[in-house]
Symmetry: C2
Subunit: 497 residues, 2 copies
């Protein structure tokens, strides 16, 4: 499936040495230089758009409009993170000026963020552009001042290779050391392991399965020097249907959710895999309508045979659990490697007693959990693992009535959506894409939006540092015009002295 | 040494259940309510000052002025973190308003920080007040909205008990649920392990040895749900002496460093345990002067017999390494459990070839490393493990001349000090107390200064959230008057709509 050979240990050692050497140059680059480099990558990407999209279509079986959108999003990420990088507020510059007359004298202390070092990025199978080679993790690491080593996803190795060549061009045109970016192939587990364990590796970005992300997390913590792993793993993205709203618009919500469950053959990390409602006419109408919608949605090819096989196995496993009813299956016949749209249902009691029903079935599948009442729904919420998103469907009066319940839902997720669908992750500063474990390995950071830059940096304080050595953003004159906290006040003013 | 009995598993389970119940109330408290609670603790602390300081003197052998200072610092931390908590900028509120006419429509998204959950704080032996029961970690967790469970340090259990009683009073007077704070005794390893492994525990704060911190970190990562551990562990805080400055002021620097090495019997995490200079007259004068100073400083009792014994063992181990010269030892005779001020010296070659010389000798000990030239100093820097602080002693022209070298030093530490001593950690927003591993387990956060609050919180996004459910800091009207980033612009204005 992959014409590229796995990197050898020697190649990886050479790659990491080059990355480290490049780090010692790139980390001193100004914010503007980093932003220019990121914009250069965006420009080189634009230049390959027409050539790379057909290759990605072939490798991933995703349709052209979906890939065109994702490609545009990738360019937007590079450009918007570049703008945010340059603007400098993310450095959280803090300055406390000296008080020489205090007893004891207070020194001058100034703090900014510095890059961690070379970052390994694992390409995601379901986002060949936006969360792969030149995707969000890569853009964030470059903005932070870190070299990037991409481990290509074997299911779209050719797409990855073409994007890597575009980045290489941008590296050359920006007169950056070659080692600032590297692209490594490796179909097996060993390549990733060697990269994560290398002493010059200082952080890891990953989007994929729980098993994969957790293995990287464990490895990284067993290093002599543990390093942070930002793994975005599985999520079933629960949707909670509140009674009044369901009574009003069961059919409309069903239509919306049939589309969301099957969007891109259900291959989004924010796919709604679990729908929780309170028994009654409204829920019954919703289930019937959702079933009717799903029957009319055709099976479609999944990303690669491995994912299709896993979907088939996990779907069968879920449907054959005790007290699980199959509500609807796509009526049209399916080809090999197709994902078959499917809706199941079970009682809250069954859900609470069976951990299998909490597991993600990656693909166009969702299970509707029927609760006797709000108390039972609350019980379900208490037993939900960490999630990327949770969604509440309710009228204002539903929300007012179930405030405590929604406050408990919020404990379990990184993003709380009202009256919408979880699929569709807006790239903006207010986005949190990262939830409590096991949704991600570090809920304190996001992998979407420019705040993701902070994953790859750490604070350093400079005490009584002469002006000649201070980083530009901490010098008195504030030539970058950035927001800084000076003696506890946020300001863009220069510091007197 | 400890009249208190270790908590049983049942007591710990009950404590954690109470903490969880309290969390579900306390996490909804407003910033002002949290700040008022912290100020109430400060007031109760003031009330016990005269009673608790003599007890701490007896338990820790630290002199009264040192403990009075530390007590004042503890009160200052509570009050200043309360003020910062209330002011709200730390929530990093971000608002992106909806664009309903965009295709597809852009939803309204707003992000703030929410508390992680119950936090275990391990008291530090060397800071019975400022990094123990009502210390920095406790203050940060309360500000973030988290309940705190303190594991008392057995070496000052009585002091800890008295401070815990003061916090309990503040809990009562603030009408908070009892479970918001708990105080647990446990001389053995098992108590700490049970606390860290409990499913309701969501984060850990620790200040102490590498062995202790690393054990907690490993445990926390092996949980079913891994949790963050902020362990501030050992550090040798290297000091780099540059030639011109040394030539000018060897004697003065020696005086300053003799005091810093022996301050509080060398029992600070920022104690300068390694001094690196370039061979020549200046360095020779410095070593001679430092030796003379050290001989005149009297041995003093260490915190507890365990620490005194470890110092004796590690000091002997260091002094008996190949090619290590003992430069000076305090002339006055020492009593049992005294720390004996000691200076050793070795060549850079010896240092580079012997990892034992990189290890912390916790107490009044420092080793001077003699480099042939700046190239050899650079080699030493390449082999330095992560540090809380590094210090550069140099004239402006020294700094200009050795800019690349200092940029490499900065890679290895959380705080870079110029022409000062590392002891003395200012409590202010610009302080970074946390360096690359093994100085701390997470270099991206600080344990000193109000930014430490962020250790115990995570971001949550609210998408299309009705006003009735939005947290106060995200509502259009901005009733708290806090700085927020609205559509990529930092502002205190209300949001239109």
């Amino acid at each position: 499936m992959n014409k590229y050979t796995d990197a050898t240990e020697e190649e990886i050692n050479n790659t990491m040495q080059s990355a480290w050497d490049a780090f010692n140059i790139y980390r001193k680059y100004s914010l503007k230089q980093r932003a220019d480099f990121m914009r250069a990558i965006a420009a080189e990407m634009e230049a390959i758009r027409d050539k790379v999209i057909p290759v990605a279509m072939q490798e991933t079986h995703l349709p052209e409009p979906r890939l065109q959108n994702e490609f545009a999003r990738t360019i937007f990420q590079l450009n918007s993170y570049a703008a945010y990088c340059e603007q400098g507020a993310w450095l959280e510059a803090r300055i406390d000026t000296a008080l020489p007359d205090r007893n004891p004298p207070k020194p001058d202390i100034r703090k900014t963020l510095v890059p961690l070092g070379p970052v390994i990025v694992f390409g995601a199978s379901n986002f060949p552009f936006a969360y792969s080679t030149a995707g969000g993790d890569t853009a964030c690491a470059f903005a932070a001042g870190c070299p990037v080593i991409v481990k290509a996803h074997p299911a779209h190795a050719e797409t990855s290779e073409m994007v890597a060549a575009a980045i290489d061009k941008a590296v050359q045109k920006s007169n950056l050391p070659k080692g600032v970016f590297a692209h490594i192939h490796g179909a097996g587990f060993e390549t990733g392991k060697m990269l994560v364990m290398h002493p010059y590796t200082k952080a890891v970005g990953f989007t994929g399965s729980y098993a994969g992300g957790k293995a990287l997390f464990d490895m990284a913590n067993q290093r002599k020097e543990p390093i942070p792993v930002f793994a975005e793993m599985g999520s079933i993205n629960p949707v909670y249907l509140l009674p009044e709203k369901l009574q009003q618009s069961a059919a409309e919500i069903a239509r919306q959710y049939a589309a969301s469950v099957t969007l891109s053959v259900g291959q989004f990390c924010t796919n709604p895999g679990l729908i929780v409602g309170i028994d009654g006419d409204g829920l019954q109408q919703f289930i019937t309508a959702l079933g009717n919608e799903i029957r009319n949605i055709a099976p479609s090819p999944m990303l690669h045979p491995g994912i299709a096989k896993a979907f088939a196995v996990n779907r069968t496993k879920a449907l054959t659990q005790k007290d699980v009813d199959t509500i609807a299956v796509a009526a049209a016949s399916a080809k090999e490697n197709d994902g078959i749209p499917t809706i199941a249902s079970a009682t809250a009691t069954a859900f609470l007693n069976n951990p299998v029903l909490h597991q993600e079935v990656f693909g166009p599948y969702s299970i509707v959990i029927r609760c006797k009442d709000a108390v039972e729904m609350s019980s379900v919420i208490q037993h939900i693992e960490g999630q990327l998103t949770s969604t509440v469907i309710g009228t204002d009066s539903d929300i007012q009535l179930h405030k405590a319940l929604i406050e408990d839902i919020q404990l379990t997720c990184g993003r709380l959506i009202f009256n919408g669908v979880p699929t569709g992750v807006e790239v903006c500063l207010s986005m949190q894409h990262g939830g409590p474990f096991p949704a991600t390995t570090d809920s304190r950071f996001t992998s979407v939006g420019a705040d993701g830059i902070k994953r790859f940096a750490r604070p350093v304080s400079y005490q009584n540092c002469p002006d000649i050595f201070l980083p530009e953003e901490l010098k008195n004159k504030n030539s970058l015009g950035i927001w800084r906290t000076v003696n506890n006040e946020l300001t863009r003013n220069r510091v007197a002295g």
